[in-house]
Every structure is written in structure tokens, then in C-alpha cells.
């Protein structure tokens, strides 16, 4: 497995990139050239210079510093959302797929209801209902997305549920937790990793969208979506303001999507059998 990972250039490259971004975010206070909140109205919309490597925004704040500090809320919230979604989705999917019967009926009917709402509208509805705040954005994203994962993970579980090694375990009375945790969960781990990776990309976009609309991370905090929001006011006079956070978001999301595909190749269970 480790060998296949190192052989897959995309996997190595994307994981490396993500780790690098995460490190930049963690180390932001030490590597950022300026204070991301320090406004200097006299130097607004400055172009690149030694002091401000990427220029300044409408309040004269250093764009590079804001971008670096912005990694924390952007990536952190996205990963938090992913953990919540995958956790809830995997739990529900495992229970529904393995236990069947009324457990499956209840979970899947709830999932059906969840899936019949347009997800974007649901996010707005949930945020509007709970109030605008970061926690509520994460909650809303988990709330609307878990059903997708529950459904996909249940399908994965169903493939393995009737495999002989699980039938054997059930026959000799192996405890359910052992079957779920040691047999089923590792069997669907590859699917989970792919889903998780794609989900982070999706969450970044969604959280940035909400921040852009003013429903997520609030003004002075340097979140990438919020930075886009501030930049859109000067779209016609200073279009370059949107380019930096825009490119950052697109690049990060693409990397997560690429990583999802690469992980799928690396973890493909067909090759495990070979």
C-alpha cells in the first residue's frame, strides 16, 4: 500500500501540497510578513512590493498575510465539516447497511427526505434559522450533506455484508462491534478516504460561498470567501483584488479533488486482492 502510494505521482504531489498549505496556515503568525488586521488607509490597493509581496486591499492590509492567516478558518472549518459529515454519514450508513430491518428503514427514509431538498437552499435555511455564525455554518453543512454519505457508505457496506468472512463471524457469534470496526470499516476505508477528500473540496467552496454572501465568517477575519466578498465591491475599479483569494480557493479545491481521485487508485481494493 505504501509502495503504491509513493508510485502514484498525483497522490504524492497532492498530499504534499495539502500538508504544505496546512503547515503554512499553522505557521502563519511566524511567516506572515505583516499583521493581517493592520489597516493603513494611505497605502490601499498597492501593487506588489517588498513590504507587501502581494499588494494591499481596500484598507491597506497586507494581502499575503491575510491569505496565510486565512488558511486556518478556510481549511480548518472545511476539515471540521468533513469530519462531521463523514462521521455521521459513516455511522448511519454502517448501521443501515449492516443491521437492515427497521434500523435501515428509519435511517433510509430520513435520508430520502434529506436528499429531496435542494442542498444549497437548505444551507441558507439552516443558517437563517440558527443565526449567522461560524458554528452554524459547519452545522448546516454537516446537516445537509451527511445523507449523501450515508447512502454511499450503505451501498459499500451492502457489498461486504454477505461476504463469507462476515457470515462466518456472525455464525460463531463474534460481537457486532468487532464485525463493524474490524471487518466492515476497513473494507470501506478506501471509499471513505476518497469521499473525505472530495468532501473537503466541496466544504471549502460552500463555506467560502456562505462567507462571500456574508452568512459565514464575518468581516475582519481573513477567510478566503470573506476576502472575495470584500473585493467584489471594487470589482470594476480594482479587479485584481479578486484574483488572489479566487485563485487560492480554486487551487485548493482542485487539489482536494485530484487527491480524491488519486487516493481511489492507491486504495483500490481490487489491487489489495491481487
Amino acid at each position: 500500500m505504501a509502495q503504491r502510494f509513493w508510485k502514484n505521482k498525483t497522490a504524492v504531489g497532492t498530499v504534499f501540497f495539502v500538508v504544505l498549505i496546512a503547515l503554512l496556515g499553522i505557521l502563519a503568525p511566524w511567516i506572515a510578513p505583516n499583521d493581517p488586521y493592520a489597516a493603513d488607509i494611505l497605502h490601499k490597493y498597492e501593487s506588489m512590493s517588498a513590504q507587501f509581496p502581494l499588494g494591499t486591499d481596500h484598507l491597506g492590509r497586507c494581502l499575503l498575510s491575510r491569505l496565510l492567516y486565512g488558511i486556518r478558518p478556510t481549511l480548518g472549518l472545511a476539515i471540521l465539516t468533513m469530519l462531521g459529515t463523514i462521521g455521521l454519514g459513516a455511522l448511519m450508513g454502517l448501521l443501515a447497511g449492516y443491521f437492515r430491518g427497521w434500523v435501515e428503514e428509519i435511517i433510509m427514509r430520513v435520508v430520502d427526505v434529506m436528499l429531496s431538498f435542494p442542498s444549497q437552499v437548505m444551507v441558507f435555511a439552516v443558517v437563517a434559522l440558527l443565526g449567522v455564525s461560524v458554528q452554524n455554518v459547519v452545522l448546516a453543512n454537516v446537516f445537509i450533506k451527511w445523507a449523501w454519505y450515508a447512502r454511499m457508505i450503505r451501498t459499500g457496506v451492502m457489498q461486504y455484508r454477505d461476504k463469507n468472512f462476515i457470515q462466518f463471524s456472525r455464525c460463531i457469534g463474534t460481537p457486532e462491534w468487532f464485525i463493524l470496526a474490524r471487518h466492515l470499516l476497513p473494507s470501506i476505508a478506501a471509499d471513505l478516504a476518497v469521499l473525505a477528500s472530495l468532501d473537503v473540496g466541496w466544504a471549502i467552496i460552500n463555506i467560502s460561498t456562505l462567507s462571500f454572501l456574508g452568512l459565514g465568517v464575518q468581516a475582519p477575519t481573513p477567510e478566503w470567501g470573506a476576502m472575495l466578498n470584500e473585493a467584489k465591491n471594487v470589482l470594476t475599479s480594482n479587479p485584481s483584488q479578486m484574483v488572489i483569494p479566487g485563485v487560492a480557493i480554486v487551487a485548493l479545491v482542485s487539489v482536494f479533488n485530484l487527491m480524491g481521485d488519486a487516493l481511489r487508485d492507491v486504495l483500490d481494493p481490487k489491487e489489495v486482492v491481487e
Binding site: 460463531i172 468487532f178 471487518h183
Partner: protein
């Protein structure tokens, strides 16, 4: 030790005549069977006749529509206690060895699952490593297999490990669902010899499901013919050639079409003559 009484099983049909219909196809019709302690009972039938389904009913994995399965007089679908008793006394080996073992488990982990089942019965296994090599030696393998994964073993070797795993639970009854059918002829004989040896050593009871008459004559004391879910004949292997049932006769003829005497010979061997 196991009694199967009037078991009927049906599955929901794939093709429903009505929308949201619930028509069912019956797979087993009023099956009766007793497995005496220490015996080896064979179930013979062509594929699709419901042998595996009957096996799953006996394993406690599939509740029959009607009828009763009991172990030592306790009904296994009645309450938790019966099921627990069954789980303590029964173990299985399946046909398809490629899916019988978790591809992510090493042989050690595979056997450990069986040993843990034994510990649940209240038996202490003090020296786990010694027990692991004992189990492997029972099935003619050595310790070097412990760290290996299923895909690193041949079919025969993996099937041996599956047998070791079944034995590791210290069962009284082992169910073999076409356990040797997908192996080549030479390995089949080896495994059958192994099974016979284990049966005597550990005083086990076998339920042997197969579509192959030769292995029945080799191993079993009694045979039950299953045809499209109906039991057509049930007799000791020694009187196999005197079967009165048309289907059983046809089956015998189709297998021994060239040499009818071989059957009597085989039956005679089985009867210990």
C-alpha cells in the same frame, strides 16, 4: 444433536407481477433432517436446489418462514439463548475461499478470531502462540504462514486455514458448504483425508453440503437428496445404490453413467466392507 423440522423458506421474487407486489418464490419445502452426534450427514443436490439456503438456516443466519431448527432440544430461532448455544457449538467452512477470509487480515488475525470465540465460551487460552501453531499443524501447515495474507496462499492452503479457523472455535458441529468443490481433485482428496482425521481426533459432527457424490461416499454416513427444495430421499450411504427415488437414481446414473459398478464399490468402501 440438530433437528430440522418442517422448514420452509421463500425469498421475495425479483420480478413482481404487480407494482409494489410481494410475491415470493419458495426455495425450501418442508425439509426435515436430524444430525446425530458424531455422524457425518451429507446433503446432495444440483446447484440452485437450496443446499446453501438450508445451510444458512441451520447456521442461524436465515430465519425460516415456518418450521423449527433446534440444537440439543433448544430452538435456535426462539430466543437469544438458543442462538447463543448454536454459536458456541457450530462453525462453518464455505465454498468460496477467496471471500471466506478478510483480505486485510493476516492468517494470525484470522485464526485469532476463532480463538476469541473459544474464549467467549469461558475457556482460557494461556499460550496463544502455541495454540496458533498447534492449529496450523492440525491442518498440515507451519508457523511461517502466520504473517501471510490470503492472497499469498494457494486455494488449498487457504481452505486449510479456513478449516483451522473453524476448528479454533472448538465447535461440536462443523458445516461445510461445498468446502472442497472449488479445489482440484488431488487437493480434494487431501482435504477429505484431513477432515476425516480431524473428525476422529476432535470427535466432531459434520454436515457436508456438496453437489459431488464421490465426496459423499468418501466421508458421509448418511445422505439427504435435495431437489428443487424438496427432500427426495434420505438414507445411509451404505444403501445408496438401492435408492427408490427417481431423482436420486438419475443423479447416481449421471455421475456413474460409464461404470455402474464403481458406485457399489464406493458404497461398499464407505460402509467399511
Amino acid at each position: 444433536m440438530i433437528t430440522v423440522e418442517h422448514v420452509c423458506v421463500s425469498f421475495r421474487s425479483e420480478h413482481q407481477k404487480k407494482w409494489f407486489g410481494s410475491s415470493r418464490t419458495q426455495v425450501l419445502f418442508d425439509v426435515n433432517l436430524t444430525i446425530p452426534k458424531g455422524s457425518c450427514v451429507g446433503i446432495l443436490g444440483e446447484s440452485g436446489s437450496g443446499k446453501s439456503t438450508l445451510g444458512r438456516v441451520i447456521c442461524g443466519l436465515l430465519k425460516p418462514d415456518s418450521g423449527n431448527v433446534s440444537i440439543d432440544g433448544v430452538s435456535i430461532y426462539g430466543d437469544k439463548k438458543g442462538k447463543k448455544l448454536l454459536q458456541q457449538k457450530l462453525s462453518v467452512v464455505f465454498q468460496d475461499y477467496t471471500t471466506s477470509a478478510n483480505p486485510r487480515f493476516s492468517m494470525k488475525e484470522i485464526l485469532l478470531e476463532g480463538i476469541r470465540a473459544r474464549e467467549r465460551k469461558g475457556e482460557q487460552v494461556k499460550d496463544v502462540d502455541a495454540e496458533l501453531s498447534h492449529l496450523l499443524s492440525l491442518v498440515g501447515l507451519d508457523d511461517s504462514f502466520l504473517p501471510r495474507f490470503p492472497h499469498e496462499l494457494s486455494g488449498g492452503q487457504l481452505q486449510r486455514v479456513c478449516i483451522a479457523r473453524a476448528v479454533a472455535c472448538k465447535p461440536e458441529l462443523i458445516l461445510f458448504d461445498e468446502a472442497i468443490s472449488s479445489l482440484d481433485a488431488h487437493t480434494q482428496v487431501q482435504i477429505m483425508d484431513l477432515l476425516q482425521e480431524l473428525k476422529e481426533k476432535l470427535s466432531l459432527t459434520y454436515l457436508f453440503i456438496t453437489h459431488d457424490l464421490t465426496s459423499i461416499t468418501y466421508l458421509c454416513d448418511e445422505v439427504l437428496f435435495l431437489y428443487h427444495g424438496h427432500v427426495t430421499d434420505h438414507r445411509p450411504v451404505s444403501t445408496l445404490s438401492q435408492t427408490t427415488d427417481d431423482y436420486a437414481k438419475k443423479l447416481l446414473q449421471s455421475i456413474f453413467i460409464y461404470d455402474n459398478e464403481k458406485l457399489d464399490e464406493a458404497a461398499a468402501t464407505a460402509a467399511g466392507l
